[in-house]
């Protein structure tokens, strides 16, 4: 699981072009949106595509994303439970 969390942090930084952020600076329970990493709705779309492309998980209901993308912890837990 910790490998997956590290992988997610690196993917998020690369795909969302977070130039000034390193993986070490993202805590597993930091909020990804709002006051935490400051991601927005366009980033949410990027994360949905990332789940599909890299982990084979399709979100049937985009509203599910709100909980799944809360933090690295919640993302990793969801991927582990649903990975194809």
């Amino acid at each position: 699981m910790s490998d997956l969390k590290q992988e997610l942090k690196e993917k998020i930084i690369e795909q969302l072009n977070l130039e000034d952020v390193t993986a070490d600076e993202i805590a597993d329970n930091d909020p990804l949106f709002g006051d935490g990493l400051g991601l927005d709705s366009i980033d949410a779309l990027e994360l949905i595509v990332m789940l599909d492309k890299d982990y084979g998980i399709k979100l049937a209901d985009p509203k599910e994303g709100r909980k799944i993308f809360e933090s690295i912890d919640t993302m990793a837990a969801y991927i582990s439970a649903n990975k194809a």
């Binding site: 969302l16 072009n17 130039e19 000034d20 779309l45 595509v49 599909d52």
Partner: protein
């Protein structure tokens, strides 16, 4: 009554260190290649990091050059924003299409698409400053900037606007360089900045840059020059060029010898620089000839660099040696003609007078 049109401020990001308005080519950036990229200012001083991460190079450069122009003009908003670009933010367009192909038309995300259109730059600047006025982007090959300039000139002369932000922007993108090298519009072999204009080979060295200017029908302390006249000619045979230029200058009540200099768009392309060479040994033989594309690289809106350069010359009274193409003495010029063409098409003339 028609109003005069003034250039009240300038801002530029280019292959040279032009982003600091207090300098004028103090330090020349050399290069060797078939394409050359702009010197990056510290973008963080101009753009919030959260916004910058999605911006294409063209938008970033334009954020800097437009903010510098607005600051120098002492303005927080303008009546209109008009931008010329040949290729827009082609880099993001390329990435979007590449993703489309690589992922078999699946997994497409919006980020690259959002900023891949030509009018992204003008739109982004307007959003940033809250400008709800006229917002237009001209995409007319190598007369894109001149088309923007013309639009602004007409609006200002007719008093339909008081202050207009006019820009020119294009960025280097890899696939474009590859395809244009294949058809020999870009040089096959790398060439150095100091050799490019006398390279004797086909094609050009591709460059990039963003140049913004506040044009106004009111003169102020910061004013650089007055836009006396301009002309755009999509097609001219080589035989017609000289006479067309002469006619353009004379309809403004001056003759060629009254000009303090001409800024020519030589780009080192063996096939098409002949037009400049012929003019240089006939029509412009007795006046100072200046060149710039060895410093800026060639791109659709490289003439924006010439416009920036002419205004810096007026303000500083200096003509750096590296700009001189012939040996005719030039000293604190007051009236300059800018002439440009690309591959024998889309000729443009801009006549500026120092203020």
């Amino acid at each position: 009554m028609k109003k005069e049109v003034y250039i009240n401020s300038i801002g530029s990001v280019s292959v040279q260190k032009t982003f600091n308005n207090s300098e004028f080519l103090n330090e020349i950036v050399d290069y060797e290649g078939i394409s050359v990229k702009a010197v990056d200012p510290n973008y963080k001083e101009y753009i919030p990091p959260a916004a910058a991460r999605r911006m294409a190079k063209g938008i970033k450069m334009s954020a800097v050059s437009s903010q510098n122009a607005m600051k120098e003009a002492g303005l927080e908003n303008v009546d209109a924003i008009i931008v010329g670009t040949g290729l827009g933010c082609l880099g993001d367009s390329e990435k979007f299409v590449r993703d489309l192909l690589d992922n078999d038309e699946q997994y497409l995300t919006p980020t690259k698409f959002i900023q891949s259109s030509h009018n992204t730059v003008a739109g982004s600047i307007a959003l940033d400053m809250g400008c709800k006025g006229y917002n237009f982007t001209y995409v007319h090959s190598n007369i894109s900037f001149e088309s923007s300039l013309w639009d602004a000139k007409l609006q200002l002369a007719n008093n339909e606007a008081e202050n207009i932000l006019v820009g020119a922007v294009d960025e280097v993108v890899d696939h474009h360089v590859i395809t244009h090298q294949f058809i020999e519009h870009i040089k096959k072999e790398p060439v150095s900045m100091r050799d490019v204009l006398n390279s004797g080979t086909k094609g050009i060295v591709f460059g990039e840059g963003s140049h913004f200017f506040v044009l106004s029908n009111k003169r102020q302390q910061s004013t650089y020059s007055k836009l006396l006249d301009m002309g755009i000619y999509n097609t001219l045979s080589n035989d017609e060029v000289s006479e067309t230029i002469r006619h353009f200058v004379e309809k403004n009540g001056v003759s060629i010898k009254d000009l303090d200099g001409v800024i020519l768009g030589n780009n080192g392309d063996l096939e098409h620089d002949t037009i400049y060479h012929e003019l240089g040994t006939s029509l412009f033989l007795e006046i100072p000839q200046l060149v710039y594309k060895h410093l800026s690289g060639e791109y659709d809106t490289a003439s924006g660099f010439a416009f920036w350069m002419a205004n810096k010359i007026f303000k500083t009274g200096k003509v750096p040696e590296i700009l001189r193409w012939n040996n005719v003495q030039i000293d604190r010029p007051k009236r300059l003609l800018l002439y440009n063409q690309y591959r024998g098409k889309n000729h443009s003339l801009v006549l500026l007078e120092k203020c």
